[in-house]
Symmetry: C2
Subunit: 376 residues, 2 copies
């Protein structure tokens, strides 16, 4: 484990039954047991060490018992490396219909067929045990932004009681596991500093294998996010992984690593890759732009991904403009490579004690052009 | 060149500036300078030796002059192997709006933006010269099925006059080429035996680098197709390639090879791959079927493609049922592998003088289950 001399940034290593994870790490999102448009081999080529999959989606289709019977998530999707499953809470609140939150859990209707389901902290642990991811998350309520103090206080209390119930059920399920799993705690508390601190301290006293910060990167000002991260990180143990859920843009990642965060997941590289918004060291570009029409250069001359080794900007533009699948496939491959590589670059900079220099250089180059992301 | 002792089947070899093509050969369709869902490397892994691309589509987007400026079609799409371009005639008649056929050529409106264009035999040769495919086809009229004798007679006469004009322009363009191209003639004549024979004889007397049979596999009974192929093949020179345009199902290919055809192209493996209709030695299966839900076996245990080496039927079904891109990607890869491999199997059987035995075994196994294709 390395520690940057000027910031909170750190480089760590986690062991899981499916391999080690070197942090800082970016986890591509594989919602339905597939990182959209990438084969497991392509995913390996990006350098990805761990991916995230969604409990809510897998519970609905194909079902956690099916995945258990197929040997678990890694075996089912032919990804013999670490996987993290979220709790499904975020998806229940953002995708499902007619949800109703009670002390017991959350009732919701499937966004696919309208069928009614109940998630409790205990049932989610059972589902995640069946899925068999290396790292699993407990059911929480992700409060919306903005959120009143009163609502946030009620909600974080519920999240804490659910965390306790999750941990108890997690321990009971020990003998049902194919291989050991790690359970993280999730710090909530909206934008309220006192709630964040109390929540973090309570979770730490319960004792989890790692700690996630939830409910950020959902619309609040970036300055707010930074302050809340700092406060929360100060409450978390030094020797355990810290995971910023759902973040973010390249600048978000760089900022958060400097604040002591280790793990990140975000749909940006995959979703934007499908839409032709592609990431380069000079910022994000829209490959459909007319200026690329006759551009024979690779998208990013410094990138070693298959798309950059093989195709011109002109050809990539043609693929997107004609609606050809190979465009989204290659854009996703490149973007995931960029985000995974960004975390690896940060790790190398931390280990060589050059993180601040690296960060200055990266941001100067990345934000030198006018792109939507550079709004910090 | 090998010749089967019992049938008209033969094994040949063609040389092109981008490599040799061993026949019988199946050419995957890459309409818009990409075989949908496959990277060039994946395409190579299927064993594909040559692909087909569409002049009509490339003329509209991105434009043949752009492709010329990018170094030609092979360079543009990073496929350093042989390519064949069709004439665009079939697409003009099937896709474009308000087409008007005259002696000079065909006027049509783009199916994309309604812009009005004129294809003449000469302009199509110019477009195909700019694209730079190894094998190119002249503008023809693909008559619909059914078609009256009067219409077919008028049409095949026009196709013949267009063939003559194409050949003249093709020869004039010799100095504009980056590398030599081969020009094939296209036999039309609908379902009328006398027209087919006269057309084939006239084309042979003009002299082309190879001969295609067009206007079949568009709805006529299979028995009609077989007879017309036999008649036409009898008129074609032994030492030049014969190409059955737009065919077909596995049974169609096996039948046509036995009648002396060498080259085939069809959208079946790619289009059906995207829809989850997957080809196996036991026939076509719909992978979305409930019977595959808990099936941990590979799609085809005898297949060496990445999809069959990597995934279970259960997982493939999950991908299609949840609309995940990896499903169509893997289905396309497998199907193209199947069709390309089928042609290679036939070549090996011809060369070892076992084609008839091979055919019997293949059809017995392939048609043993009830599939839509086995309707011969």
């Amino acid at each position: 484990m390395g520690r940057d001399k000027d910031t909170q940034a750190r480089a760590g290593r986690m062991s899981t039954p499916h391999g080690t994870i070197d942090t800082p790490v970016f986890m591509p999102v594989g919602t339905q047991a597939t990182v959209k448009a990438l084969s497991p081999t392509e995913l390996e080529e990006t350098g990805a060490e761990v991916i995230l999959s969604n409990t809510y989606h897998l519970f609905l289709r194909p079902g956690h018992e099916l995945i258990r019977s197929m040997g678990g998530l890694q075996e089912f999707m032919s990804w013999p490396h670490p996987v993290l499953t979220d709790s499904g809470g975020y998806q229940v609140f953002s995708l499902a219909d007619l949800k109703k939150i009670q002390e017991e859990g959350v009732t919701f209707q499937s966004h696919i067929d309208g069928a009614k389901h109940l998630f409790t902290p205990e049932s989610v642990m059972e589902v995640e045990t069946a899925l068999g991811a290396d790292i699993i998350m407990p059911l929480d309520e992700c409060t919306p932004y903005p959120c009143t103090y009163e609502y946030a206080r009620e909600s974080y209390g519920l999240t804490l009681r659910w965390a306790e119930r999750s941990k108890r059920r997690f321990e009971e399920l020990a003998t049902d596991r194919r291989a050991p799993q790690a359970l993280f705690g999730i710090v909530q508390g909206s934008t309220y500093e006192d709630l964040r601190v109390t929540c973090a301290e309570a979770l730490v006293s319960m004792g989890f294998d790692g700690y996630a910060i939830g409910g950020l990167s959902i619309g609040e000002p970036k300055s707010t996010m930074g302050g809340l991260i700092d406060l929360t990180v100060a409450c978390l143990p030094e020797n355990q992984p810290r995971y910023l859920m759902g973040a973010g843009t390249p600048e978000d990642l760089v900022d958060a690593v400097g604040r002591g965060l280790d793990m990140f997941d975000c749909v940006i590289p995959t979703r934007e890759g499908r839409n032709g918004a592609l990431y380069t060291p000079e910022g994000r570009v829209n490959i459909s732009n007319a200026r690329f029409k006759e551009d024979a250069r690779p998208l990013d001359e410094t990138c070693g991904c298959y798309a950059c080794r093989t195709f011109s900007r002109s050809y990539l533009r043609h693929l997107y403009n004609t609606g050809e699948m190979l465009g989204p496939q290659m854009g996703t491959l490149h973007n995931v490579n960029f985000f995974v590589g960004l975390a690896k670059q940060m790790r190398a900079a931390i280990l060589s004690d050059t993180f601040v220099d690296w960060r200055t250089r990266f941001l100067n180059q990345y934000c030198s052009t006018t792109t939507k992301e550079c709004d910090t």
